[in-house]
């Protein structure tokens, strides 16, 4: 009996993969429904646009327009698949590195970048976007995702929740409590670990001795899978299956093996802890190039298609540039808004103090 349960929960021995690095198909595991060619063409377009958005955001940091930007270049297959499997009524719980997924979900890039620009902690209405605030502490939002998933199920919907985290976050206690709660309460939540091999500078082998981060689900009774995170076909196939399980009340944990091509953020010097040969190896495993080769190989992608996707990316980047070049209008008095539903008398006094200071500065 216990053998049976463990077998059901265990991830495959090697990461699920359907595309080789040269774009040719390989025999992946049975039991997964592979995405259609149309879905893959959509994924390709989104990945091109997403990469352009990421490059533009990195450039905005260098121009001082963003306080910080954690790039997700190299993780496009994870980011885009995350956005594509979500229905409009599903919820996304992103981290600071998941801006690409949010933009691909259809959110305004400027609203997505507000946190990183530094003018507000969350630049959008989470209820309208069905996207939680981008989380900076690690793994804390996996519990919120689990609680909300349980609430959605109790509300009688079949909406589900996707929580994104990185490899380092699997060491945090909240990650383990979230897996446990999700399994006990049968919450429709999928945890997607983007294992990009480093938590800032700490490599995976100093982070975990588990054979796969997906093994961490087994002890909690959570079905788990590991997947080639640079294979868009595999990412979509595994995420779709995970959401089927989640909607049926069985949470799911995915470890996606990928790589962070850029440094942790612009403030990080990645050459201090990894060598360029390693980065070069991962550049060869690029998810966007892999999908493009595959689609061209099967005659499903033309030069015109690629040019069109690139043009869409350029339009987004140009729009982002011009809108981010304008200084945001900030009202210091807004500091006192939304601390409580109704401000305390102490906050009213402090608000008056600031108003007086501001008036004196004007005069």
């Amino acid at each position: 009996m216990s053998d049976h349960i463990a077998t059901d929960l265990l991830p495959s021995a090697t990461p699920v993969r359907y595309l080789a690095e040269d774009g040719t198909t390989v025999d992946g595991p049975a039991g997964y429904t592979l995405p259609s060619v149309e879905e893959l063409r959509d994924a390709h377009r989104r990945m091109v646009v997403g990469r352009r958005f990421d490059a533009q955001s990195t450039a905005l940091t260098k121009q001082g327009r963003l306080a910080v930007y954690p790039s997700s270049r190299g993780q496009e297959a994870c980011q885009i698949a995350a956005a594509m499997v979500l229905r409009e009524d599903d919820w996304l719980f992103p981290t600071y590195r998941d801006s690409m997924a949010m933009v691909s979900r259809g959110m305004d890039p400027v609203e997505v970048l507000t946190l990183l620009r530094g003018d507000a902690h969350c630049g959008y209405d989470p209820n309208a976007a069905r996207v939680a605030p981008q989380c900076t502490p690690l793994s804390t939002q996996t519990l919120h995702a689990t609680g909300l998933a349980y609430a959605l199920r109790r509300n009688g919907t079949d909406s589900a929740v996707l929580a994104l985290i990185g490899d380092g976050a699997t060491s945090e206690g909240d990650f383990h409590e979230a897996l446990n709660f999700a399994a006990v309460f049968e919450a429709p939540v999928v945890f997607l670990v983007q294992n990009n091999k480093y938590a800032i500078s700490v490599p995976l082998d100093k982070q975990s001795a588990a054979p796969s981060l997906a093994y961490k689900g087994v002890g909690y009774g959570v079905r788990s899978e590991q997947v080639d995170g640079n294979d868009p076909v595999a990412m979509l196939a595994v995420l779709h299956k995970a959401f089927e399980h989640a909607r049926a009340g069985a949470p799911f944990l995915i470890e996606a093996h990928t790589y962070r091509i850029e440094a942790h953020t612009n403030a990080d010097d990645a050459t201090r802890y990894r060598d360029s040969a390693e980065v070069d190896r991962w550049l060869d495993a690029d998810p966007l190039a892999r999908l493009e080769k595959h689609l061209r190989g099967i005659g499903a992608l033309t030069d015109e298609d690629v040019a069109e996707a690139q043009a869409e990316g350029e339009r987004l980047a140009a729009d982002l540039r011009s809108r981010m070049n304008a200084d945001p209008h900030l009202d210091p008095m807004a500091l006192f808004d939304h601390v409580y539903a109704r401000p305390t008398t102490q906050l009213v006094e402090q608000r008056d103090l600031l108003a007086t200071e501001l008036k004196a500065q004007e005069g």
């Binding site: 507000a120 902690h121 969350c122 209405d125 989470p126 209820n127 309208a128 939680a132 605030p133 502490p137 804390t140 996996t142 519990l143 919120h144 995702a145 689990t146 609680g147 909300l148 998933a149 349980y150 609430a151 959605l152 109790r154 509300n155 206690g173 909240d174 409590e177 979230a178 446990n180 709660f181 006990v184 309460f185 808004d337 939304h338 601390v339 409580y340 539903a341 109704r342 305390t344 008398t345 102490q346």
Partner: protein
Amino acid sequence: MAATTMAQALNRALRDAMTADERVLVFGEDVGQLGGVFRITDGLTRDFGEQRCFDTPLAESGIVGFALGMAMGGYKPVVEMQFDAFAYPAFEQITSHVAKMRNRTRGHLSVPMVIRVPYAGGIGGVEHHCDSSEAYYVHTPGLKVVSPATVNDAYTLLREAIDDPDPVIFMEPKKLYWSKEDIELRHVDEPLGHAAIRRHGKDATLIAYGPSVPVALQAAAAAAEEGIELEVIDLRSLVPFDDDTVMRSVRRTGRCVVVQEASGFAGFGAEIVARIQERCFHSLAAPVIRVSGFDIPYPPPMLEHSHLPSVDRVLDAVDRLQFTDEPDHRYLTGAHS
């Protein structure tokens, strides 16, 4: 009418809130079949079903983070932390997320929830069962922090906390769980943030909250026998803080002692004293004095009586207010010294 204990009043508050609003859910560790280690949730699972009152895995951060997600989904969780010091694993969730969600999202998300923390000592509990942890919470903008001292307040403040649109840390003084009052519980429909004057007096003001209120009242009764009329203010709500009631009283009496069970250094009492000296300096006839627990880790149960502020320690502080305008005062005769 049978006397009601504070524990029963809290139970009634949960029942009445659950009856009034089906979004109110009670969960935490041991709150289901057992009814909580202090029986505050007694019978709720039986009467409302496991969907409304349920046990969770033993993980405080999990309980609070899960509750936050449920609040995002439209529910009003009332969670129990079982004991003060056991709530610390949930501290990050409380301070980084529960307290800030309204502000982070500029009002788009609010997480109305109540985190019940049985706190403070005087019950002979062993290590990690008797912390006065209120200062950690009052220092965090976005949280409301309340502590009842009477049976009726236990009922009405918990109802108000559950109705409140913001997250509330509800500090329950464990040693008062079994205190009784022969009263009919009533729901006062007013927002949190009002202090209560428990005893009127003109000579000095005693400010207390939670477990220290009965101590202050006993001290006032003892002082009255010696002709000193002490006013006793029960704060009830630490955040929001009722400046108005406190300042009006101190301006009238000109003297003040703040009593708290928690360690004194950088405690909530220090905030009260600072506010009073900023606002009432010219009305003060004596320095404002704090009476608190010592600045030590909570002691073993057989020694806690030496740590906790006693009636005598409060009266000694009252003596130090130097009622020099009253020539026959016992301070001059050496009583209580």
